[in-house]
Each structure stands twice: as C-alpha cells, then as structure tokens.
Amino acid sequence: MKKIIISLALVVLACQSQAQDKYFTKTGKIYFDATTPASPEKIEGTNKSVTCVIDSKTGNLQFSVLMKGFEFERALMEEHFNENYVESSKYPKTEFRGQVTDNSTVNYHADGVYPVKVKGKMNLHGVSKDVETSGKITIKGGKIIASAAFAIVLADYNVSIPTLVSDKVSKNASITVECVMEPLK
C-alpha cells in the first residue's frame, strides 16, 4: 500500500514539476537585417509576436514565427518580403525546434546571465536546415530571457534574390532573437 501511495505521489510530483519547468512567450521579438553597403535603404524587419517555449529541465527550445508578422518601415518592402521572397501565404510559419545543448550549466532558479549553445532544425520557406548558434539565457525575477544572434544563408532556404537587385539585398540575413518568457501554467 505504501508503495502505491509513493508511486502516486511521484506521479503527482512529476506532473507538477513538469508544469513549472516550462516557460513561454507570445510576444518574442525577432529582427532581421539583409542590408548590404550598396542597398539604397536599410533592409530590415521586426516581428514582435514570436511564440517561444523552453523546457528548462530538458533544454528543449522551440520557436514559431508568423512570417506575415514582420513589419517594415517601407510598405513596398513588406510587400516584396511577403510576395517575392519568403512567400508568406504559401509558407506562413517558420519554426525552430532544438535544444540548449549545455542546458546543465544554466541554473534556472538563480538570477544570472548564462552563455549557452543552441542547436536544432529550422524550417523556413519549406526548407528544413540545421542551425547552430551561441546565445544567452538570462534569469531575472522568475523570467527567462533568451537572446541570440546568428546569420542564415538565404539560398539555403531557396529564397532567391533576382540578379537585378543581387548587390542590394544581402545573401545572408543576420537574425536577432529576444524572448522574455514567463512560466507556462
């Protein structure tokens, strides 16, 4: 009988700890820049509605980005981004599923800044590719702030740049991620 009680208690505990392990946000920020020295204007966009979930126990980290959510200063650039480059009606979402590979070095219960490495698969424009980058996990007042900066080669994801503007749009997009996550209940 004792064993059953212990088992049940363990189950309950397991469920509870699971729930507290995960953190999420729906208002994460992703910024990208594909400006070259020859660009007549800055080619940059910001998405402020990124969904991100992290499991502090396993280090699993997942992002979901609605491509139509990228905002640009110039309306025409936004149109070209959606229509011609990422084809956001055909491929509405970009997803990243990966892991903090050195998750054990992060103490999620103590405030601090922890440099980490993240590895996983990103699916953009219908193409899945491995992505590896170093980032930063900051713990502050029970919140997790995940930030990272990395670059992707647009051609890897079949995002083609017409020859006419090939010197004005960078072949690599630098991407900056910043997500402030709260406990998932």
């Binding site: 064993k3 088992s7 402020k48 699993n60 200063e73």
Partner: protein
C-alpha cells in the same frame, strides 16, 4: 496487492513517459493558440490599375505612386510609322495612398490636354478569418477637365463644357495567389456631347483579370464594354492585354491595347481603333512607388516593465 502495485507503476510510467515525449515533440502545442483574426487579403493586383482601369488594389498608406503612361501609334501602319513608335501619347500622374482603403490621384494626358483626378474608397475589402468578406467593393469618383482651346471660339462656351465625370464600382476577388478577377460597372457623364442624338450618360461594364505566371510577372487583361456610347464603325470597346513586370521599386505594365485615352472618359468613349483590323497599339505604364512617411507603429500593449532595457542598463 502486488497487482495493484504493478498497475500503479504502469500508470506512473505511462503518465511520465507520455508527458516526457510530448514535451520533447511539441512544446509549441502547449501554448494556447491565438484566436484566428480577421485578415485583409492583400496584393490582388501589383498596381492600383489593371492596365487602363482602376483595380481593386489600393496603394499602401503614406505612399505615392508616380505613374508615367505611354501609348504609341497603331501597329498596322508598319515600318513607315515604325510600328507606331513614331507617335506617342502620354499621361503623367501622381497617386497617393491615404488609408488602406482610400486613395486619390491626379494626372494629365496630352491627348485633348486633359487633366483628371479621382478619389477611390473601399467600404469593404476581401478578408479571411472571422467576420470575413468574400470580395472587395471599391467606389471611384473621378472628373476630367479638357484644357485644350475651344473648338469653336465664336460661339458662347461655358467652362462646365470642359468637364466630364465618371463613377465606378469595382467588385473584385483574389481567387487564389495567382488569379484575381474583377467587374466594374461604370457611368460616364459628359456635360456636353458633340451630337444631339448622343446621350450624356454612358454606361459601361469593365472586366479585369490578373494571372501570375511567376513571382514577379503577371498577365493582365482589361476590357470595358460600352453599352450606349459607341458609334458604329467609329468607336470600339477598349481591350488591353499585357504583362506586369516587377523590378524592385518599379512596376512595368507592358501591353497591347486599342485605346489611346488614359482616363476613363477617354478610353471608354473615344477608342477609335479596332482589334479586328490589327490596329492595336503598344503601350506601357511605369509605376514607381515612394514612401512618404514612416509606417505607423501598430499600438500594442507592451509587456509590463521592459526587462531587456533594465538589464542592458
């Protein structure tokens, strides 16, 4: 007792493992999905004009479209007129996007030295999601002013005789990423007509379509049927067929058309060439869009206390 224990262990393993695997596979599914939002269908046409006629598309707010239109001479004259290139009519225009569903424009054509202006407004636009609407309905009201010298200065001329008006309703739908179709019933009112037998109110029905052939190239067709204003054998329905080519900041609309006029009054009323006699003309519309002001930031409630800025300090 033992059986109970086993069952409990199994339950424990089952629960734990299922949660574990769920966590590994799809963390994103744990987050409640956002409610689907009403979303406006965008980019039905590459330009606010199909070729000659207005399209269901609008300029983005705070942008200006500088349009240069050329219509060359009829092709049937052959080499002696260099297939029409020896002769050109043009219209220069400025169009302004004010709201996503409101724009105005002004232009001047050398044909009849005509100045035209219009205002275009869409009470409803095609959208998806809750409360969606299947079509865009846009209303256009325009005016043309003939500034050429009076044909007969001897008679008493009135300023109002230089004016004509047009009113148009555009009902259009983007059926798929590549195909858009629209109908546009139009009324052209002329303050003065050359013959007493002619009506001052001309009714026409326009049809416009776009078929995308690649990300940056589309085929367009623009047609108007004039119900009561055509003169047998003299004026014809304007038919235009062309390509939209997008090159970064410019949109080129290259086309063949039998119409010379570049405003509603002129191409609906005064198209004197006939496709059947191979009298079509080559022409192009060049559109360059400028951003006039910054895009308005969508006001969203920022999460309380911006931690990032605190930390960065």
């Amino acid at each position: 007792m033992k059986k109970l224990h086993l069952a409990a262990t199994c339950l424990f393993i089952f629960l734990f493992s299922s949660q574990q695997s769920l966590a590994q596979d799809d963390l994103l599914s744990l987050v409640a999905k956002d409610k689907p939002k009403k979303e406006r269908i965008k980019y039905a046409f590459k330009s606010p004009r199909v070729i000659n006629g207005h399209s269901m598309e609008f300029l983005n707010p705070r942008t200006m479209d500088f349009r240069i239109l050329h219509r060359f001479g009829p092709l049937d004259q052959g080499y002696k007129n260099f297939f029409g290139f020896d002769q050109a009519n043009m219209r220069m225009g400025l169009d302004f996007g004010i709201f996503h569903n409101l724009m105005v424009g002004i232009g001047r054509s050398n044909y009849k030295k005509e100045v035209d202006g219009y205002i275009k407004f869409a009470p409803v636009r095609q959208s998806t999601g809750p409360g969606s609407f299947p079509v865009t309905i846009a209303l256009v009201s325009g005016m043309t002013l003939n500034t050429s010298p009076w044909e007969d200065p001897a008679k008493q001329n009135f300023y109002t005789s230089r004016l004509a008006y047009y009113f148009q309703t555009i009902i259009g739908r983007k059926f798929s990423e590549s195909f858009t179709f629209q109908l546009s019933p139009t009324l052209v009112h002329l303050n003065i007509v050359p013959l007493q037998t002619q009506s001052n109110d001309i009714y026409a029905l326009g049809a416009g379509a776009r078929m995308k052939v690649s990300k940056r190239v589309a085929i367009t067709v623009d047609y108007f049927h004039n119900f009561n204003g055509l003169e047998e054998g003299v004026t014809f329905d304007p038919i235009s067929v062309g390509f939209d080519i997008e090159t970064g900041g410019h949109v080129f609309q290259l086309h063949f058309s039998n119409a010379t006029g570049m405003n509603e009054r002129a191409f609906i009323m005064e198209t004197t060439n006939d496709w059947a006699k191979k009298q079509m003309r080559f022409g192009f519309n060049l559109s360059r869009v400028f951003q006039l002001g910054k895009k308005k930031e969508k006001k969203k409630a920022e999460p309380k206390g911006n931690i990032i800025t605190i930390i960065n300090k």
